[in-house]
Symmetry: C2
Subunit: 482 residues, 2 copies
Amino acid sequence: MIFRSLVRGPFQRAARTTAKHALRQVVRKLSPAQPGPPPSTWRLDRDAGGELRLDGTKLETLFERYGSPVHVVDGARLKENAARFIARPPGASKGCEVYYSYKTNPVPGVLRLLHDMGVGAEATSPYELWLANRLGVRPEGMVYNCPAKPEASVREAIALGIQLLNLNARQEIAPVAAMARTLGRRPRVGIRVAVPHGISGQFGERIDDGSAFNAFAEALACPELNVVGLHAHLNTEIATAGELAAFLSAILEFSDRLRSELDLELQIIDLGGNLACPTVSHKGALAARLEVALGHQAAPRAPAAVLTIDDYVKQVMITIEKHYQAVGRPAPRVFAEPGRAMTADSQMLLCRAGQVRDADASGVASVVLDAGINVAESLRSEYHQLFNLARRPDAPLRHYRLTGPTCTLGDTLYPFVELPELKLGDGLAIMDSGAYFVPYSTCFSFPRPAVVLVEGGRDHVLRRAETFEDMVALDGPLAGAG
Amino acid sequence: MIFRSLVRGPFQRAARTTAKHALRQVVRKLSPAQPGPPPSTWRLDRDAGGELRLDGTKLETLFERYGSPVHVVDGARLKENAARFIARPPGASKGCEVYYSYKTNPVPGVLRLLHDMGVGAEATSPYELWLANRLGVRPEGMVYNCPAKPEASVREAIALGIQLLNLNARQEIAPVAAMARTLGRRPRVGIRVAVPHGISGQFGERIDDGSAFNAFAEALACPELNVVGLHAHLNTEIATAGELAAFLSAILEFSDRLRSELDLELQIIDLGGNLACPTVSHKGALAARLEVALGHQAAPRAPAAVLTIDDYVKQVMITIEKHYQAVGRPAPRVFAEPGRAMTADSQMLLCRAGQVRDADASGVASVVLDAGINVAESLRSEYHQLFNLARRPDAPLRHYRLTGPTCTLGDTLYPFVELPELKLGDGLAIMDSGAYFVPYSTCFSFPRPAVVLVEGGRDHVLRRAETFEDMVALDGPLAGAG
């Protein structure tokens, strides 16, 4: 912005372009592209011909049956992640109770698979509550967290008798109590708090200014409410043991205060989500701008630096059990609401190169993919590993700018990336599409892709690709315009 | 980012919070919130009870019939905009030929209304080409501009004999010529160019490095192609006469070169879109961050500073006709592909306050609306005027942070805005939702809203609201998860 407004006029712009090209060469030498994790990280391998496979299924063959782009869910990895989240960690008396964050990847076929593994539903909207119900999730398997809950959805949640109804703000206490009185039910409620010095935004009552304490006091004064839970999200990514420890410590300290000052023995501590996906790196706004300006690939972080699911569950359960042992009280139940950490790395987006242009003066060739921000909006702010579906022998490495198919400048997925040479029609796998790709998809100029499950060498469709007719299904008959 | 990483730890964070609150007060004093344009700018008025009306229709009443949120199209303004774009400006021998940018607001009811006014279709994807066809647009009324055109769509465009097929890159020339040969048709093609020192990104061949000239030479050597047009977008907003003049001058200079060096007399100059909407202000990344950090409302620009549709068309036609008079040749046809300038200000998004919280330490109260980035993604980078639907007598002005209903921190529509006091359930009108709101909508936790036409005191639905069932229509039967 500032740079741009300082350097205006055609001559200055030409000078800027030249300077930028020179700077790009330097940046690339100083900080070469990182290869990132290998295909085996995602249980992928290559056959003798160099074709990428998942569980024996050659990914390229999926285009024929399901079109391009297409989401591919790795059923085995999804089950493995679910099993890790619900496992009792060594040294703990029990494990977490796990409610999957529906908003992260609300594909019924994915949700059903998780429910079959014993995972519950975390709904954050009336739609998600409805969907959990339609998928046959029992009320004990539902947590409802919508920031501003429409009245009808509160009525439904209370009437169903769901596991936990989390109140986002003091303003919800009186109306929910009134509704409970009307229905003659006593709902199990939690109150969402924001830990000290964390980001709260529109979520929860702050611990550090006394609002959270006051909200608990107010709720406990309502005989219609069964106040059983404390709910919190860190609201920023949890990637290390230190970040998790600080979060747990703030919650446990507050739970002690609730017991000592309000005589409230919490039955449930609901820790929300926020656990990172090890193979996805967040790109800050500055890093994203530098990528565009300088053609510099953001270095993905090392997956080994990120807390695994097992380590997360173990640290959570051991920390909480130890704390309660120390104060001589029984530990509460612990809820986890994973989203990203559960499904991100069990899904990938396959797409194709629709146009391959010549390299520009700085050696970067533009490639237009058939998937763009319409289906991969997260790539604006995240770095995701990607692989050529076919590996040609002796294909040289090239520098590419990968853009999407929509007619807008902002549709750039990888401002700069180094890949084995691409040809028109070549397939690519964009990894970790199982969090926020599907729910952030739009119908911007193109229909939305199919979601396909691959497991044990077989594949079947979970959600079919949208058709042109589907895209105008809410518009009534399309009579001619004359 | 840098700020955040420098200032870490609980004590520093507490100090930062205090400093921020103090700074907020100063910033607000130095730069008070701007009221922005009044309701009459959009043909809105208030009845005796203070209720906002469009063409006699009380906006609040639309919630009862169509739910909330809901898009409201002002039919009269839409027709007025179309009439202005197609009008012959005073002093010119003719006007522009206008092709509406389908991607900007692809609601069939809106498109039909534009087509009835004599506006054609600018399609940028196979879907949009299909839609134009389904809406009964004749081939002479279609321009096709997709950055990487799938083969089947090129075949369709050639077989239909559309008005203009614009090639985005040199790489398209040979395949399109081959397809034309196969079909035995000679399509009317244009070549997209990027003007010197403009942003090109993935679009067009650059004039300044000779690529555009070479592409024309290559296309002219293909007897299968009828090279009639030059296509360009500035790719950044055109808001002033100066910006438009520089753009036209670059195009006319290049068209002279095509005539003198390639003996090509262009039949069509296609100027693309990019004309600004006067009542929408772009927010740069820095301004957006300051809004969040300091609670400072971005000042919308003065609408009078922005080129009107009439001024744009006049300047375009007069400049081009004068240029061609000077060189003693007949002026080519001029195509315009407006998107934002045609429809942005003829639509608004009505929504309701779903939760109103108490003011925080800096005097800002959080309000959760029932519309968020799921339906108004543009608000991340644009400032849009907004109005309370009801004006209560003596309602004091308050400071609000308006967030959306989805369970994500990023769902903040107005980080800081001054409005007459809001109560739970109050309606708001977010203006200028007619560009990029509908196509950038997602199904993130909530169904997509209805689009309603209001004209002459009557209203009817153009696109019905999505239902929960619609949201899983592509997923097959939702059998219980057991």
